[in-house]
Amino acid sequence: MRLLLVEDELEIQDFLKQPLADAGYDVDAANDGRSATQLASGKKYDVLIVDLGLPDQDGIDLILQLRRSGISSPVLILSARRSVDDRVKGLEQGGDDYLTKPFALAELLARLRNLLRRKCAASEEATRLRVLDLDLDFINRRASRGGEPLNLSPQEFVLLAYLCQNAGRVITRSMLLSEVWGMRFQPNTNIVDVHIYRLRGKVDTEGREPLIRTLRGIGYVLKDR
């Protein structure tokens, strides 16, 4: 997977490069709009990360310019602005995504995965999903573990489904909030933790191997092996 990182803050560039490489991306970095355009015209990238505050150009103009020159790869927009302006929301509807700084690394990786998955397998709607001994039935919206049905509320089913779809990957709280509840904000309290705690009480009952792991300070992960 080729990735173009357009970010003028060298500090952010540096710390992103290694985890992105670890996650399997082949990373090229550009400091400004001009070098980004040059790189993008030379190679084909599967996904782009673009910071809005570039020294020579507005990030959105850069994206529009790349789109006009026939580059259709999805873009993850980074913004230091608090309020996400309408132009970014417009791009988001076109299949791109955005993150406001400061963001969690896990969330950046998850959003990149989402972008790439949306691109390749958007049509593939699973009706059943199995993760280890967990079994999810999307038609009847029921879940069972080891053949024993789990008594989940509709909300808990959606939460478990999201964890299962991203099994083995780190999921942050704000990702859960935006993907499961459709809200993009940082709550002051650990409201998401309580939801996970409840779900865990139903899924990881006594005597069973705990599947939902908490990564303190980062988020959660559902074991897949």
Binding site: F15, G53, A80, D86, K89, P102, F185, P187, G217, I218
Partner: protein
């Protein structure tokens, strides 16, 4: 009351200034005139008194020397007649009879010996006799049958009889009356003219002030670039305009500087925060012992809190300066509140709190969805943090054509009285609160940025009560303010 509203001139400063100026001017001129009048009246009297005293002395002399024969009456009458022609300031009467002067010689027995003047002199004599304080100096005497009093001087003759010389005060009074009449007309004219001039001049002057006020009030938070008209005047009003413009220059540059500072502050803090957080996460993803990872976890938590604080502070500051950018869409408040309660319910019940919602169905408002989410989340966060266990939170949502009303109440301890009055100010929080005290300030700022209003109070039965009125659509502010009474009634 209606006349006051109907006549704005009466309430203007120009009107009051000219009224008081006129009053002062009128009283002043009146006083000056009263003094002048007194002076003139005294002078006229002094002159006629001098004439009277002189003439009566001459007459007494003549009467004393003239032998008391047949010719005596004629000689004295002749002298009296002559004297009366020398009366100062006199106007001849229309009739042949001269009634402005009389001469009377009377004995102690009260019988007139000699009379020169109009009529038979009996009434004059009766008047003189009834006058109690007869002295030689001139005195005023009212005589029956005459409209005007006489000024009378007398002299005693050697034979015991007295000579009286009377001069009517008619002319004197007429002169004074004339003077008063003319003065009054002139005074009225001057006062009216003067007050008109004062009124129009002050009105013009204050008109400039009003122009400045109107322009200044138009220069709102959004438009700091306008300036008040200065004109070419170099007086106090001109200086006022110039000073105002200088002040606006300074305010504009301060606000601009503030925007630049908050903007770059936000940007300059966010990038390093991102880098720090990312690096900590990388450390955390490597295999660490619990005691090694624990400090890193708490640092990440603190970083997140710092970020949240930074964001909310800037949002509140922007909203208070009416500079919050809203991307408004149709939002179903009912659905949003239900989703939010759903989200908070596990945390609430973990703390032993109950939440119930009363809502009549979908309520669509035009709002910034992300901000509205945070508003409701802040309200619930607030309840979650401050309510003791086993309390109940009641949320009521209703709407009319103009506005939606969201009421959040609980049966907890309520707001502390010392913070209730400024509960929506930044950094105001309960004594035991460990939070940054921006939650309700943020809620209020966002509600107001959307044209709504929020009130906080304590329920009579105990517990906190927050009421948010949120306009439906735009441009219905007037009706929104009346919502509470309509909705509660």
């Amino acid at each position: 009351m209606s006349s006051k509203i109907a006549n704005p001139v009466m309430r203007s400063a120009a009107w009051r200034i000219s009224l008081w100026a006129t009053l002062a001017f009128a009283i002043g001129t009146m006083l000056v005139f009263a003094m002048l009048h007194r002076f003139v009246a005294n002078d006229i009297q002094r002159r006629s008194d001098a004439w009277l005293t002189g003439e009566v002395a001459v007459l007494g002399d003549v009467a004393g020397r003239t032998p008391k024969d047949r010719l005596y009456g004629r000689v004295v009458s002749e002298v009296a007649e002559l004297a009366s022609r020398e009366v100062p300031d006199r106007v001849r009467a229309n009739s042949n009879e001269d009634d402005s002067v009389f001469f009377l010689q009377a004995g102690d027995d009260g019988i007139p010996k000699l009379w020169v003047g109009a009529g038979d002199g009996m009434t004059n004599l009766a008047a003189i006799r009834s006058h109690q304080f007869i002295s030689d100096g001139p005195y005023d005497l009212d005589v029956k049958g005459f409209n005007d009093p006489f000024r009378v001087a007398s002299v005693r003759l050697d034979d015991g009889s007295r000579i009286y010389l009377g001069l009517s005060e008619r002319d004197e009074l007429r002169v004074l009356k004339n003077l008063r009449f003319r003065f009054l007309w002139l005074w009225l004219l001057i006062v009216l003219f003067g007050s008109a001039i004062v009124f129009f001049v002050t009105k013009r002057m204050l008109g400039h002030v009003r122009e400045i006020t109107e322009t200044a009030s138009r220069i709102g938070e959004s438009d700091l670039s306008s300036r008040v008209p200065t004109g070419k005047r170099n007086d106090e009003v001109g200086h006022l305009a110039l000073t105002l413009n200088h002040m606006l220059d300074r305010i504009e540059s301060s606000v601009h500087q503030l925007h630049t500072i908050t903007g770059s502050l936000a940007h300059d803090l966010r990038s390093p925060l991102t880098a720090i957080r990312g690096k900590l996460e990388i450390v955390l993803s490597s295999d660490l012992k619990v005691e090694q990872s624990e400090p890193i976890v708490s640092v990440i938590d603190e970083l997140d809190q710092l970020t949240e604080f930074l964001n909310t502070s800037l949002d509140v500051a922007e909203a208070k300066a009416d500079a919050l950018r809203l991307s408004r869409t149709d939002v179903d408040l009912d659905k949003l509140v239900r989703a939010m309660i759903d989200l908070y319910e596990p945390s609430m019940s973990a703390k032993g709190l109950r939440v119930n919602l009363r809502s009549a169905g979908p309520v669509t408002v035009l709002a910034d969805a992300a901000l509205l989410h945070r508003v409701v989340a802040n309200l619930l966060d607030n309840e979650l943090h401050h309510l003791p266990a086993s309390c109940t939170i009641s949320i009521t949502l209703k709407a009319n054509e103009a506005a939606a009303l969201l009421v959040v109440e609980d049966n907890g301890p309520g707001f502390a009285s010392e913070i209730l009055h400024h509960i929506f100010k930044q950094r105001v929080k309960g004594r035991d609160s460990k939070r940054h005290g921006l939650g309700l300030a943020f809620v209020e700022a966002v509600v107001r940025a959307h044209g709504g209003s929020i009130t906080a109070s304590n329920r009579p039965a105990g517990g906190a009560l927050l009421e948010i009125v949120w306009p439906i659509g735009a441009g219905q502010f007037a009706e929104v303010t009346h919502f509470l009474t309509v909705a509660n009634g």
